[in-house]
């Protein structure tokens, strides 16, 4: 393959890769914030159900 062909391939890879990452970053920033809220809520619920807030269990 010629040097020009390689050059075109790497240009396409770079442009598509960076564009995809930009889109991914937006999705992750939005979706991740929602996931954190859900994570904290689940941990809080688990905490209330177990009734052992601020302690670590002695189970193995």
């Amino acid at each position: 393959m010629s040097i020009e062909s390689w050059s075109i391939i790497w240009k396409i890879v770079f442009v598509i890769g960076v564009s995809m990452f930009a889109i991914l970053a937006i999705l992750v920033i939005a979706g991740g914030a929602r996931d954190i809220v859900k994570l904290i809520q689940r941990l809080k619920n688990d905490d209330e159900v177990s009734g052992i807030s601020e302690t670590i269990s002695d189970e193995e």
Binding site: G17, G32, I40, R42, L43, D46, I56, E59
Partner: protein, 505 residues
């Protein structure tokens, strides 16, 4: 500071070892992608990848492509990670015990922690060097040790307090800063140097070798490409910090989606730093003064420099370039982004190795001695190990005087673990005749990868490329697993891992 606050806030939610190690397996898809990206895109990765781009040009892009393809295929098929998540293990060595026996778990845990801690030994120093360099602080005064102590203390506080919960939330905050920073620096590089100028300059200086990874004499070749594909598999499906994210996800199905989407991050974690290194090369070679600093004997540099001539280490090429082109007002953003890359990797590595020491070495030994550890003790022990490993990394960074190339150092120390682990995971998950003796032999065989170190080769009087040593080590561990299993089968086959239609056969 935000990360420390997170650690203090989430501390009250840590009730047992499962919460501490896997955030209670409550991670949603997008948070899982954020933490995986943050962990695997560390400042050390940025530094050594930029160095690779600086010396190899656009031909290095094949490594990024290999990472993308392999991670996507792992996501599509669920290869290794799906079954591990389905088995609900907390660590990879825990799988060794379920599939083989306790001694394999303990040996596997020791090998993993040994390779892992040595592997991260230079992270703190190299990361601090970048920050000291780009902010203009002197590298020879108190600045470097002061930055090292400050950074490791910051990471230790929130990792000790909140375990995986604070790590993933801190990773999310760090992902936001890091991704903005990555895109901004790339845009500035292109606007300063010119898109076509970057490609034309590489063509004029490096020629075909700067674009074609298969060309002879270009530093890569087909053997190297094959090794990069394998390292791509290791990075996403074998390396414990990445697998820890898979084990923390809500369901095995989410793991597959996580990997398919994160394959873009695996591409970018190499592609953008390579591009920065290439841009740094173009910037330096287009300026006679800068070129004289990095290439005092001209380009390409001779194998050995003339007497009295000394070139600046090309590891400094990228930070040197960024320090020159980034406007003063944006240096803060870049520093914050790289600081985020630094912290998000350190926290995950500290958590991974400390919990493995507890779960896979101390706890099984205690259990064998008839004194099983409670969850409370495991968490306490893990916290102590986190501080001890942090202390070791600080000591190693301050006093280690090795002269190896960073990439070689990392590849060899990592290979001590992953060459054996690959054979065990492959055999354990997909070959019902794999035995504990075969597993034990493969783990020990992984130590053969140490031949990749230049001082060891000098000692033995041989000269082999790291790619060849790596590939031979992999083949060797697989052969040992097969021979050991066939010659010494387990008396009674253990229960096969639970399967489902999603498995690869």
């Amino acid at each position: 500071m935000i990360s420390v606050g997170i650690g203090i806030y989430v501390r009250k939610f840590i009730r047992n070892m499962r919460d501490f190690v896997t955030a209670g397996r409550n991670l949603g898809l997008w948070l899982g992608i954020a933490t995986m990206t943050g962990t695997e895109l560390g400042l050390i990765t940025v530094m050594y990848s930029a160095q690779k781009g600086f010396t190899g040009g656009f031909a290095t892009f094949h490594i990024a492509m290999a990472a993308l393809i392999v991670t996507f295929i792992v996501g599509l098929t669920g290869f290794i990670v799906y079954r591990l998540r389905e088995m609900k293990v907390l660590t990879i060595p825990e799988f060794y015990e379920k599939r083989f026996d306790r001694k394999t778990r303990i040996l596997g845990g020791i090998m993993m922690v040994l390779g892992g801690i040595l592997n991260m030994g230079l992270f703190l120093k190299v990361g601090s060097m970048f920050l000291v360099g780009i902010t203009g602080l002197s590298a020879t005064s108190w600045a470097l040790p002061a930055v090292m102590i400050f950074l490791i203390t910051l990471v230790l506080i929130y990792t000790v307090l909140g375990g995986m919960v604070s790590v993933v939330i801190a990773d999310y905050v760090q992902f936001v800063v890091l991704s903005i920073s990555l895109l901004a620096i790339t845009f500035i590089s292109i606007s300063k140097l010119g898109w076509n100028n970057i490609f034309d300059s590489i063509q004029n200086t490096m020629g075909t070798a700067g674009f074609d990874p298969t060309v002879a004499g270009g530093g890569f070749g087909w053997e190297y490409i094959a090794w990069m594909f394998f390292l791509g598999l290791v990075s996403c499906a074998i390396w414990p910090t990445a697998v820890a994210r898979a084990l923390s996800m809500e369901t095995p199905q989410v793991v597959k989606r996580q990997y398919m989407i994160t394959s873009v991050s695996y591409l970018i974690r190499f592609l953008i730093p390579y591009f920065w290194g290439i841009s740094a090369f173009v910037f330096i070679t287009n300026d006679a003064t800068f070129s004289a600093l990095f290439f005092p004997a001209g380009y390409p540099p001779p194998d050995s420099m003339p007497a009295g001539v000394e070139a600046v280490d090309n590891l400094y090429g990228m930070p040197f370039f960024l320090g020159k082109i980034i406007p003063a007002g944006l240096i803060g953003l870049v520093t914050a982004g790289m600081l985020a890359a630094f912290m998000s990797t350190h926290d995950s590595y500290l958590l991974c190795w400390s919990t493995s020491l507890t779960q896979d070495v101390v706890a099984p030994i205690a259990k064998s001695a008839g004194r099983p550890l409670t969850s409370r003790r495991k968490v306490t022990l893990s916290r102590i190990f986190i501080v001890m490993i942090g202390g070791f990394v600080l000591y190693w960074g301050l006093f280690y005087k090795g002269s190896e190339d960073i990439w070689d150092y990392m590849a060899v120390t990592g290979a001590i673990y992953f060459t054996g682990a690959f054979a065990l995971l492959l055999g354990g998950l997909y070959w019902k005749r794999a035995s504990s003796t075969g597993a034990f032999m493969a783990l020990i065989g992984g130590l053969g990868a140490i031949v990749g170190l230049t001082p060891v080769q000098d000692l033995l009087g041989i000269e082999l490329s790291s790619a060849r040593v790596g590939l031979l080590s992999i083949i060797g561990t697989i052969v040992l697993m097969i021979i050991g299993s066939l010659l010494f089968p387990d008396r009674k086959h253990r229960k096969e891992p639970k399967t489902s239609p999603n498995h690869v056969h």
